[in-house]
Amino acid sequence: MNYLVGAFKPPCNIFISFTDGRSRKQVPLKKENGKTVMVALFQSQENIVGEVVVIEPIHGKKVEHNGVKIELLGQIELYFDRGNFYDFTSLVRELDVPGELYERKTYPFEFSTVEMPYESYNGVNVRLRYILKVTISRNYVSNIVEYQDFVVRNYTPPPSINNSIKMEVGIEDCLHIEFEYSKSKYHLKDVIIGKIYFLLVRIKLKNMELEIRRRESTGSGPNTYVETETLAKFELMDGAPVRGESIPIRLFLSPYELTPTYRNINNKFSVKYYLNLVLVDEEDRRYFKQQEITMYRNLEAS
């Protein structure tokens, strides 16, 4: 039996670790099985340095191989297109020439100034991930493979132009409002400041809320899939205002799990954010106006 068990187990174990693993920031990452694990965080242009440890095979068996390599992969995975990974980044380092493994072996590796233009993203229909993949290639039998996820986040400086969003909208002779958000671009821990000014109110409003919506579109052409999630529902106003009333907005973004805006990542997907101002009247009719905002990741704020 033991033999049989041994036959299905990989003949040896591989561990991948980063040199600065202890000091490097760890962030949570949701795996396919729903579990969240802490993984190392990198950004573009960083050196990814570490070592791969191959534990000697059990029962003192030898493992013949055609070579050991480590790959750094950046993949986009579209769920409706299961199994197809699009590698937008693929770097390889050969760790060992073909031979035999019979004892514990440590291979240092280094990818210097790696270009990782896209951020890790875990969406509804799409996933963008970075992995280190160690492969021990063998003849006739399956290769021994080990993966190590890591997360990439890229920081952008505050935009030089950041106009406010100001708009007057309404339904003729029923409702006229003017709203203003102080900025059109927000970093992830930013605060949305603004106000809504009621120019005309002829309907009996019950409340007003501000929603943050994420619109994820995947694919292209006729195969475009769009998924919209409401990430936040924030009540701005309770009760019915009268003409001339102005209602303040202050919405802290930090409690919500937002990402930067992604535009057309590798022609595969986009993630955009919208502020949706919703007015609800006493008959629960909803009047809304949606405005896109740009999210960015700011180094200082994170």
Partner: protein, 766 residues
Amino acid sequence: MLNGTEDEEKWLAEGIAGIQHNAFYMHRALDSNNLREALKYSAQMLSELRTSKLSPHKYYELYMRAFDELKRLELFFKDDSKHGVSVVDLYELVQHAGNILPRLYLLCTVGSIYIKSKEAPAKEVLKDLVEMCRGVQHPIRGLFLRSYLAQISRDKLPDIGSEYEGDADTVMDAVDFVLQNFTEMNKLWVRMQHQGPGGVREKREKERSELQDLVGKNLHVLSQIEGVDLEMYKETVLPRVLEQVVNCKDDLAQYYLMDCIIQVFPDEYHLQTLETLLGACPQLQPTVDVKTVLSRLMDRLSNYAASSADVLPEFLQVEAFSKLSNAIGKVIEAQLDMPAVGAITLYVSLLTFTLRVHPDRLDHVDQVLGACVKKLSNIPKLEDSRAMKQVVALLSAPLEKYNDIVTALTLSNYPRVMDHLDIGTNKLMAMVIIQSIMKNNSCISTADKVEVLFELIKGLIKDIDGADVDELDEEDFKEEQNSVARLIHMLYNDEPEEMLKIICIVRKHTMVGGPKRLPFTVSSLVFSALRLLRQLQGQEGDIVGEEASMTPNKNFQLLTQAANGCDIEHVAYEFFTQAFVLYEEEIADSKAQVTAIHLIIGTLQRMNVFGVENRDTLTHKATGYSARLLKKADQCRAVYACSHLFWVDDQDGIKDGERVLLCLKRALRIANAAQQMANVARGSGGPVSLFVEILNKYIYFFEKGNKQITSSAIQGLIELINTEMQSDSTNPDSVADAFLASTLRYIQFQKQKGGVMGEKFESIKL
């Protein structure tokens, strides 16, 4: 089926249960120092306050429960050793709550700690809080939320001298904050009237008035800010509060807030800003009960003025009276449909005010009364009993103040106001006046004033047209008349002349009172007159001669007439007896005696109350006194005058021809005696004129149809006179000649006239 109240009870119970449930978990979180859980459950607890189903009253109950819990939460927040989060972070953290109402309650709670921590200036935090609270636009929820804000911030304002004091404008910041909260609360409060389901107006107003104190509390806080001095009040606080009051255009709010302003701020501020405050009144909604507002203001100012004499100059300096007076005028003008009672109430307040503040300015009082008259004259008839009451109050005020009707009597508009009262009220007022006089023992000492006074109380003095006599309560009537009687005693002057005038005026007025009133009043009048007499007696030596005697006799005359008027025989009789006693004992001067006796005779002649017996006694006495005068001529004249006592030329007067003749004969005898005495004394003829005078009496009675006087008797008398004239030629008396001549001419004239009278005189030959 549940009815509305039961439903509400149910909802309230559910709300309370919800609060208790979440509070339980919150407490657990607090005990285990779990901030996240504490925030979660406190927000859930506060979500119970999001209900729209409760009336303000019930909502308040719910609010109080939450309020108590928030106090616990605040203690936890304050102690950062427990949760390890800085207050700044906490301030952000609570704003993550998705629902606005719990979010803002928590924000206020943390805000209060934030201020206390002094990590940010109080003004910044307060400004942020009051601004954020705009998010709650629902009237009831908004009011309670802002009330909570006011509550927690009250001791944390950046006031001068407070530990939260900021930079130079610190007070302004405090004021701005409170004013803004006040403004917003008022807006919400006013909005209650117009929002929500179209319920019954009364119910809504009732609900609103339950909430009024929440709004008013802000004004109270404002008044408590140390740094608000007069300058700031004048320049900032009042104008801004008034702006809000005027602009909200809601009668309930305007009324309450105006009243609130008046009540919470110090009197001297009101005084110095009177113009601004009053300027707002005409701008209020027409349905606002401005009169009560103004009345309260004036009451306050009056009390202030009364509190210390030191403040009076301030009132003068700001011309408080004229400003108030103007304002009232404007308000009355503007509110045409204001009921009379309203206008009069205003005047009453103004009057009270001026009486307190300018007691020396009677012209002000008169001015107020004048304005009131003007207002009243636009109203055809004052039927509103409340209005009537107010008029009475208006009229009573000066009396109470001056304790002296005399002052009131100088007010020209006083009687004019009284004219507008209905009969009953007029009487009532008259009673008030009298009682005032009684109470203060004030003495009315000039005839003019007495005249005015009686004009005022004429409702008591005589029947007024249209009065329903049947309705008179006998007892009330007695009471009234007794009062009048007592009043008469209060009229007094040391100077007999003036006193006499007074008595005459009183007589004039009381005489018209009719038989029902006179029995009450006349006796007083008599006693008053008697007192005057007694006084004169005590002054013998001082007043001598004719004048002195004239006076009492005139008194007697008028008093007996009074007695006559009221058909009280025994009073009149007693009075005459007194007159005779007086005559006998006091009037020593012969000339005075002559005048007196003529007065007595004249008066007696006009009396018609006496029975035969009494009259006989009196006439007999009068005749007796006449015959005992010093000079024969006087005796003669008095005696022939007595003849009239037996011949009253009235419908049913006494016509005792025989005794007339007796008198005349007696007069003739005296004249004869006088003639002889004159002859003896001076050797010349006496005054023939006496005979001519007696002749005239004969002719008079002859004409009146006294059968005892015959043409032959006249004939004889003429001859006698002629004889006397001739014998007396040495000493011709031109006056007597002329007198005789004209008498004869009269006879001649009567003869020529013909008719019944002509025939009568025919037999007399000249």
